[in-house]
Symmetry: C2
Subunit: 631 residues, 2 copies
């Protein structure tokens, strides 16, 4: 096979690429970040690149859907659908470049009862002699049994290897780190209590780590990063497809998250003046697919009916068996999963929010790249997941993007002039105050804002259709249908108007209808008509405008004073499980107890879904929106 | 530093060696086998080489003890005491070359009750559906709990990784390999029962592996090899010294046994048409130092008073944590040790011979490179170890050698002519029948034979001194004192007479007196005067002439019909523990129960030892030798 010289612009990265490889593959080999939400399956249209020099493969039918006639004449192509046939130069436009996401997974303030699995125990042994020649470990065990009421502790092998030196170095005084009163993980000379753990939330898009002092419960540092698996597909399904269609796919996707965690752990301990060896335990949450990929267990059956996970219940696995670079004896506690589409992250949300201890009827919506719902109270809890699609996170939206600098995150439309004011991530002020703007696209919270504002101002109708009668230069008809200009070309840095299209609005409708339908069917199952509380969880949740969300009808009517965002509750759950071992038992219990509802097999699903497509709903009343909408 | 070209003859191996390295170090780097019993500490004198060309470092005082004046003029040196100073050629005489040992660790025929820790369980699961979406592992667990009464089984991580594929491949029929009803090690589609294990005896000199079918108990194959740690010292003490005096010593000595075991396992499974992945469990015995070096735990405190091991009790460690290449989930069961000098090998002997179930008062002597003693019966058992020195294995003996081809292993002296007849390993016939011979040296059983024959024929006296009045050309005085010619120069292949010297006899006396004194002091502790049974265990034990051993006074008087050799009982114990998990419990119990006696702190030790130096003893009667000795 021939190899050709490929140069990517404007970065200038270059290298030899085998003939026939796609431009997207070439970009990965050369370390050029090209956005690809679908992982190269030609269905997201995000990987547009511009031909500069050199012949490429012929234009395909797949590309016609995403590349307009005028773009085509300018040389635009989809990177995933275009093969290298000779030496080439390819330009990556700004909107196609992978953006560093603004990480929104701060840990919230919660008071957590401290009862960690790993605790230090100070021991003082009698030195051995010819008349008392008991072995080191057996001597330690005797003291632990007699003075600490801990018989039958086993010792992890690496700890055993250093035992004799440590005991003598401390002159028979030592501190033993025990795990769940079952296992000795470490032994150090004299008295010491510097034990640390890390709680990790493996999100589809973002990974967050919370470094905690196991002695005090203090949150020492937080560190987040992109989940590097995004190069294998933006959503769960495309990653699973990647593992199924590539012989070494599972290995690659798994290894990329392990490498990322090692990097994250290395960074967070260094910032805190520690070393990876200080980390004696980890807890992990993530949706079921992330859970399987982290554990390198085949996720393929999650993706086909009846959507069976390999394992539900929580597990403790040696970090060394997973290739995680922490203390050699550290255990990784992986929280349980509820179902194929309701994972350990949702269990984390549950032990953080504890709906199973409440009388109030609660709806919890966890909006990540997937949507999970829980409805109920102490008597009964139902969970389900719904295919919101990635629209609420900015994908499958013409100018949608991740929550990165330059993304429009807040939008207001003046009711009188219908003029738009917006705020982008990375700017302190709204456009109207800053007098200038350089937007790149719209992220999830901006999309919800703009659609709610369009509806509130009757620029779109109940059905979601644009109201063609509205007199505004922003509402116009393009070659792809009606669209509304959110930012004019000179307010952007991409050289074109940023718009929201009829197609985009349709995607938002599909997403919010899925959430609403799920919540409603679950309420019907429980025989309730009213929610006392709505909790919006997820990194996304913290930034969402709860009023805008209800105006769209993302969830059934509720007193807006009882609708609130709790931030990354899944990550909080991981932290709670790290600091309190009783909550792990609770997690396993609740994961078994919560009843998973497969919404798609509910007979009313289709009918309810169609009614829920309207803003806020075709039939259901929203008494708490009275006064917020015109008329 | 300069490097010089060093050539070893007659092998012709050559290579660059750093200036100042010893000839012994150079030989190891270039893969030339030079015998070194002491591991390069200049105290065994076995590593004689002959200078051919090139300057070496000056002759040392240490060498004067081993190199005669005439040898010195011929260019003989000790390889460990001689440094490379320029390009050199060095000849390795045949008697200094490392010999492939004849492995004498056959497994004996024993009937073992089959109750292995690892057993196959056939399961049939109901397939999942949308209405029964339980996860694969949880589904398996449910069946194991409901139909096999095995709740709460955990699953080892590598098995979990293949679970989903295996269950579907077998259409929800599978065989699960469980360990001690606690852990699932493996899962295979459909019904299968090919489970294997290996019992391993890590001897100081020889390593033996016994491949067993865990389903039938059958001994499928046996494989033995030299313990490659011999390059770091022939005996336990020199190996411990090596680990203490070299920064990476423990790592090296440990890794060499792990590499060897992987080689041994690879060979034995291949011979049996299996792969290492078929091996689902291992059991290990070895003396306490071998046990520590195998586990890479610091053995230094075994070598100094009060001789404390790091751990007594048995352990189960994942083979993967030890770097052993077998099934990824296999456990290694390491048998317990009794004391710093009575190890897991002795525990193996105990569960094989079961003295704790007998009324008869038994003495068990396990003669390996170290000597261990057990005396007692069902009421009470004592154990001890004694520093026999390596004489009984052929070391510290002028023409001593390991049990390798060419070694004299049997000796008879004609009472009338005082002529010698002998048999060497590798020859079917005695010298007198074969009419020719090409001996290289004398191995352990040959040494015991020749000394017993010399005593029986009054060529040596009770005190062990040569009887100078005996008229034989074989008895002569050399520059190193009196000696007796066992094989004339033309009966050897080393170009000189093979003799047994006064010094050699002294070493045998020291060894046998240690064993005798140990046995006697232990008998006194138990308040007994008579043994009902003497069991000679150890690879060495099978080949020893029990009559010759008693003539020398290696143990107190006993009816010779009740003195027998049981071969490698330690290895048998490892095999028993592999095939019967109840015997592991028994092993832990007996290791705790047996009372270790530190002989050197017994007040009568010195006095008893001196009396025991005589053949067979200065004072104690040997009624059962009546008629076997002249007069």
């Amino acid at each position: 096979m021939n190899k050709f010289q490929v140069i990517f612009l404007p970065s200038g990265r270059r290298g030899e690429i085998l003939e026939g490889k796609s431009v997207l593959e070439a970009s990965r080999e050369l370390g050029v970040g090209i956005e690809s939400l679908c992982g190269g399956k030609r269905i997201c249209g995000k990987c547009k690149v511009k031909w500069v020099q050199g012949d490429l493969s012929p234009f395909t039918q797949d590309e016609e859907k995403f590349i307009t006639e005028s773009e085509r004449t300018e040389g635009y192509r989809l990177a995933c659908a275009t093969q290298i046939l000779e030496n080439a130069q390819i330009f990556v436009p700004e909107e196609s470049r992978t953006q560093e996401q603004v990480v929104r997974k701060e840990a919230s303030e919660r008071s957590i009862e401290l009862k960690p699995a790993v605790v230090p125990r100070f021991v003082e042994l009698s030195p051995p002699s010819l008349h008392d020649p008991l072995g080191d470990f057996d001597r330690l065990q005797k003291t632990l049994s007699e003075k600490h009421n801990l018989p039958k502790l086993r010792m992890d092998y690496p700890a055993l290897q250093k035992l004799s030196q440590v005991l003598r170095q401390g002159e028979w005084k030592a501190t033993v780190a025990t795990w769940k009163d079952q296992e000795i993980l470490d032994v150090k000379p004299n008295r010491t209590d510097d034990l640390y753990g890390i709680a990790i939330d493996v999100g589809t898009t973002t990974v967050a780590g919370y470094l905690c002092d196991l002695g005090t419960g203090e949150l020492v540092a937080t560190q987040s990063m992109m989940n590097p698996q995004v190069v294998y597909g933006e959503d769960v399904m495309s990653r699973i497809t990647y593992t199924v269609t590539h012989p070494d796919g599972l290995e690659k996707v798994h290894q990329s998250i392990i490498d990322a965690l090692n990097q994250l752990i290395g960074a967070v301990v260094q910032r805190s003046g520690l070393t990876p060896e200080n980390i004696l335990e980890l807890t992990i949450v993530g949706n079921t697919a992330m859970h399987h990929l982290f554990l390198k267990i085949d996720p393929r059956y999650l993706a086909v009916s009846p959507f069976i996970p390999v394992v539900h219940r929580s597990m403790d696995i040696k970090a060394r068996d997973l290739g995680l670079k922490v203390h050699p004896s550290a255990n990784v506690h992986v929280l349980p999963v509820e179902a194929g589409f309701v994972g350990a992250d949702n269990v984390g949300v549950l032990i953080a929010e504890e709906p199973y201890r409440q009388d109030a009827m609660v709806l919890i919506i966890d909006i990540g790249t997937n949507g999970e719902l829980v409805v109920g109270n102490r008597k009964r809890l139902l969970s389900s997941s719904c295919a919101t699609g990635p629209a609420l996170e900015g994908a499958h939206i013409k100018f949608g993007m991740r929550a990165a600098p330059g993304a429009i995150e807040r939008v207001r439309i003046d009711p009188d002039t219908l003029e738009v004011n917006f705020k982008t991530i990375g700017e302190k002020n709204w456009k109207s105050e800053a007098k200038s703007a350089s937007a790149i696209g719209i992220c999830g919270s901006g999309i919800i804002d703009v659609v709610a504002e369009l509806f509130r101002n009757k620029i779109i109708l109940l059905s979601g259709r644009f109201n063609e009668g509205v007199p505004s230069p922003r509402l116009r008809i393009s070659d792809q249908g009606s669209e509304f200009v959110v930012a004019w070309r000179d307010e952007t840095s991409i050289g074109k108007d940023i718009t929201i299209t009829q197609h985009d609005i349709r995607n938002v409708q599909l997403a919010k209808a899925a959430l609403y339908t799920g919540a409603k069917l679950m309420m019907e199952k429980l025989g309730i008509e009213k929610l006392n509380k709505v909790i919006l969880a997820g990194a996304f949740g913290t930034y969402i405008n709860t009023e805008a969300a209800m105006i769209l009808g993302m969830f059934p009517d509720c007193d807006l004073r009882n609708v609130y965002a709790v931030g990354n509750a899944a990550g909080d759950g991981a932290r709670i499980a790290l600091l309190n071992r009783d909550k792990r038992v609770e997690a396993d219990e609740i994961a078994r107890k919560v009843e998973y509802i497969e919404l798609t097999i509910e007979k009313d699903f289709q009918k309810e879904f169609i009614d829920a497509l309207s803003f806020p709903h075709a039939k259901d009343p929203f008494p708490h929106l009275r006064g917020l909408l015109k008329e």
